[in-house]
Amino acid sequence: MDCRDIKKKIPEYLSGSLSGAEKVAFEAHLNLCPSCRREAESFRELDPVIDAADLEIPFADLTADIMNAVRKEARKEAMPTGPVQDTRNSRTTGISRTRGNSRGRIISLMQDLSAAAAAAIILFWFSGTVLAGTQVPEYSRGVARVTGSVGTVVQTYIDLSASTVNRLSDSVKSIELQMKGDEEL
């Protein structure tokens, strides 16, 4: 440690806060360096001067005032959520409630998106069949189930839609037969 380091450590030394090894090094330096010794002495004289300059603290019992303010605060926080013990959690509760709402909204959105995806798959998969007026093959329902793979909501959509498409396809076929018969007549 040089003089600069030593001088910085004077208040620490005087307060007894230096560790064993640091204290030994500090005192060894002080024994060899009159300048640092004088500096340490001037700091030593300063401590009682600082202590003597402490202010006289006015008497104040603020417990009642503080508790009035705290009770008001507790009531204010209690309003939306009820008892006091819940109120201090109100921010947290509020956050988790908001998070819960967002989660609900996200699930609802996901369901809507799944439904839309299922509808798109059905249109893409079966439109050709409908237009051709042929029967939807049984395996295509299975394929649709696998392709959708977005849970029961989608499955239901696909099943319902497939049967509707089949019914539509039957109707188209019968209309065609009727038209053919009419032409033959």
């Binding site: 700091f43 600082i50 003597a52 202010l55 603290i57 605060e73 006091v84 201090r88």
Partner: protein, 187 residues
């Protein structure tokens, strides 16, 4: 004791909070008064500190002692207040400021000249301390008047112990040099 009270407060017991307030209000008020040197401001800020403690107690995990934690809240409030009111700060306030009471136990000379010189010196020291940069002053107040150790100050102010040592050194260096400067300037 504090841990038990805090546990009860977290369970919604306001009476326990009242006990905590009566345990700490005097200590915190003294610290705030020493920092702000205004009784009125000290009362307001002390109240704000306890409201803040009430609001934030949920986040107190017990990693530090409650006494350290409340000093941290108090230090932050004081520094914030001093920062916001910088423009309006002046250093001639408060009862006890000008009287220069001598701490109990020190040898007291009672002749008028000694009393005058002693009071004059105390006034000067108080003025210089009040004029120190806030970060130095808070360290000085915590160490000399609140009897916190270097480690406790470091925890309170959330700074390394080394920084506490540097701030105290600089505070005292300024004090020493200003005192010498004022003495040299005297006729």
């Amino acid at each position: 004791m504090d841990e038990i009270l805090i546990h009860k407060i977290k369970a919604g017991d306001l009476d326990s909070f009242e006990k905590l307030v009566s345990r700490y209000q005097r200590k915190i008020f003294s610290f705030v008064y020493r920092m702000l040197v205004s009784e009125e401001d000290a009362r307001d800020i002390t109240q704000e500190i306890f409201i803040q403690v009430f609001r934030s107690l949920e986040t107190f995990r017990g990693d530090a002692k409650f006494s350290t934690w409340i000093y941290r809240v108090a230090s932050n409030k004081c520094l914030d207040f001093l920062h916001k009111n910088k423009k309006f700060r002046f250093y001639e306030p408060a009862a006890g400021w000008e009287t220069g009471e001598q701490p109990a136990g020190s040898p007291v000379k009672t002749d008028p000249e000694s009393i005058y010189l002693r009071e004059e010196k105390v006034r000067r020291v108080r003025r210089i301390i009040a004029g120190l940069p806030d970060k130095y002053r808070v360290a000085l107040v915590l160490f000399h008047y609140e009897d916190l150790t270097y480690h406790q100050i470091a925890e309170t102010l959330d700074i390394p112990v080394k920084t506490v040592a540097t701030r105290l050194y600089r505070a005292k260096l300024i004090l020493k040099e200003r005192l010498r400067g004022e003495t040299d300037g005297l006729p």
